[in-house]
Symmetry: C2
């Protein structure tokens, strides 16, 4: 029973009928009611949703998975299901309609009033991960010619449905967004003021086809509670509220972390993901890396003679390839995150690469010195110190550089830089590392 | 000129005096004004802040670094500086006071009115990264005995200063939080309704001493715009608004990503971080891992005889230790993120470890088979296929298990699990990997 509050657990533990549950949950938050509902069997879930007032039932539905939402709507009376669907926030409705079978979605769409159905239709056209796909049409719009008094009246009339009452979106006659005015400004302005006199004419907007990360970035930069989404002609398509973007921000970070770790991102939460799915998300990358790594083995085979002559050379292989991999992993995670946050742009490529090369040279000098001492102590009669030290220096500098160039390059090519994971960099620098190591050994030790 | 909009660039490019700038920035967002200000020299920064209306100057100050805030306040007239400081949101004031020298902070504190100063003093006591340290006292509070009408009057009086007007915090006579009522509910209720009749009595709160991540988690679960922060006796200390928590969520994800990559988290944004700082943040972990990895070298030395006998054994060392490291990296990043999101709790330890072991066994079987074929093809006369295949299987299963147990253990010990980075796991499983490999080789090939 995940994250259930003590109150929810108490209600579930008591041997209650659904009527008693309804009587006892009045003080809970809708989110907790949704968690409680998920613990019930299908029959009692249905009874609960059917017994609660429409507004509350809708708020609970919002927190459920589309499949559950559909099941509950489907088994309600048509009249009630229609009422629920019409009260559901428009972004939740869009997610629901896109998740179920198109035929089922068609039926549900006919339950919506004409104009609203058209707007939902529009929202459904935006591809996943675009700003448009997150938008809701439950905002408060006003015309630029209106007075503050008329606007307040309008807010009282439609505000109950709005997702965010803090902002009023001012449109011109063509439906284009002229400005965003805060509720505060409206409340504190004299009623006869025209909206046109309050507005300043340069709202921050996001295009419906932009990436959802762009919306998240703007919202967190400007500290807004919602950001308007417009089409190419600047007409207001909808708004994205900050709570929806918080989920996006969390998801994007989760995906990046999983990719950087070398697996495909999970769709569901960890405990809900079956072992077979975990396996599938990881095995392909492991196989790709395995085949790439096979090249390193081939390179080593070329140095069989050198290895045979100085077997102690092999003792430092794990140390050297790990030093390269670790440095590369440090660089790539830092850069990929900075790119995701918009801290680095394409035009900063050169600066970033220079920075990582310089850092790599410094790190190489330190670890190279440590490696020199270690090898000197361990090498016995053979002069391994310089070989291992110099190799470590080059491998680390090389790893930093590659780990800087690759994500910057992918970013420029508009490919997600997070595919350059720590494991991928490790594998990529291994071959060169081995090559450097044995070449240095052959020169210094005069072998092979 | 990072992230400057075209409009800001145009203003900066024109050879304008500060007066012209003031005339031209009316349509900009305060955030963009702050970016513009940062591009000016100190003198013109000061003139700009001194020329703008107090409210706007404060909004710009909010986006600046504490050092810049202090410099601008310090060089304003005392009267204006006092006005600016008193208009600044309380959480910004707290950050400023904590960032500057305590003596300077003392002077600034004397500029604040008595009761407000005390509240700022309280906020300053909460350690960094606690919910209390993020709280602002700029919220709208009402008494439970008030009517809706009286509350609305109060909102009109104090609302201008409030960070979030969407929620009204209802307190009892002891200052304890009774409930949170939304502005919507107030606007739509008849004016004579008592607040006590609207409230439902179980607000979601966060303790001032809780970790800030707890606040972020609650806020994103419940989709609130702000969350109340209370002390141990349930008295309202302040609120945290969602836009501040968005920053926390981004920062925490950034820190986790950088730690998982094997470096200490950066404090400043990437381009602002000098090479020497990058170096310092990375070199310690590299050294720690270097010394840990030295053990692997020692283990290998014990198998010198086996290696001398079958030199081809060394060809598969990079492949095997990378396979272990990569699998470990996949597991650890997935688990650390799931822990950060609260998807896994302490009591799920066993389930998570079982899941990772099962996944590891499957992955081990697949990569082990690939390794068997590869080694068989490459091994020549020696029967290396079974040695490499069996070793790969065990190493991968072992890596998954270690990479699952360690973060879960640290989480249980209340240590940040993200210190178990991909590089750390790689290093930790290397020694065992080498041990397994040569032991299997000795048995199957009957050597050493």
């Amino acid at each position: 029973m995940r994250n259930l509050t003590e109150e929810v657990k108490a209600i579930l533990d008591a041997p209650n009928g659904v009527e008693e549950i309804v009587d006892n949950i009045g003080h809970l938050q809708p989110y907790d009611m949704a968690l409680l509902l998920e613990e019930l069997d299908y029959d009692r879930q249905q009874q609960l949703i059917d017994l609660l007032p429409i507004d509350l039932a809708t708020e609970i539905l919002e927190y459920l998975e589309p499949e559950t939402q559909y099941r509950l709507l489907h088994h309600s009376s048509e009249e009630r299901a229609m009422a629920l669907l019409q009260t559901l926030p428009s972004d939740t409705t869009v997610d629901l309609l896109l998740a179920i079978h198109p035929r089922q979605a068609e039926v549900l769409l006919t339950w919506l009033p004409g104009e609203y159905r058209e707007r939902i239709d529009t929202l459904m056209t935006f591809p996943e991960d675009t700003a448009g796909s997150l938008a809701t049409v439950d905002f408060i719009a006003a015309r630029e010619g209106w007075t503050v008094g008329r606007t307040l009246e309008h807010i009282r009339k439609v505000g109950r449905r709005a997702e965010i009452v803090s902002y009023i979106y001012v449109l011109n006659a063509r439906g284009q967004l002229v400005d965003v005015v805060s509720l505060k400004e409206i409340i504190f302005a004299p009623p006869e003021t025209k909206l046109a006199d309050i507005i300043t004419n340069s709202p921050i907007v996001v295009n419906a086809h932009s990436d959802q990360e762009e919306a998240a970035r703007l919202l967190s930069q400007y500290d807004f509670l919602a950001i308007p989404v417009v089409d190419d002609t600047n007409r207001l398509v909808g708004i994205i509220s900050v709570d929806d973007l918080v989920d996006v921000i969390q998801e994007e970070a989760t995906e990046d972390i999983q990719k950087l770790g070398g697996s495909e991102p999970l769709v569901e939460s960890y405990l809900k993901t079956p072992v077979l799915t975990l396996f599938q998300k990881r095995v392909w990358w492991l196989l790709v890396l395995f085949f790439a790594e096979a090249i390193t083995g081939n390179i080593m085979r070329h140095f069989e003679d050198a290895l045979t002559e100085v077997i102690a050379l092999s003792f430092f292989i794990p140390l050297l390839i790990d030093a390269g991999g670790n440095t590369g992993s440090q660089t790539v995670t830092t850069l990929v995150r900075a790119l995701a946050l918009g801290e680095i742009q394409v035009e900063d490529t050169l600066q970033a690469v220079k920075k990582e090369m310089s850092t790599g040279l410094l790190l190489g000098a330190v670890i190279g010195s440590a490696a020199f001492i270690r090898a000197q102590l361990m090498g016995g009669t053979v002069n391994l110190g310089p070989v291992v030290g110099i190799s470590a220096f080059f491998i680390i500098a090389w790893a930093s550089t590659v780990a800087a160039v690759l994500p910057m390059l992918l970013h420029r090519l508009k490919v997600d830089p997070a595919v350059v994971s720590g494991p991928l960099i490790t594998t990529l620098v291994d071959g060169v590392g081995i090559l450097v190591y044995f070449s240095v050994a052959k020169i210094i030790l005069d072998i092979g």
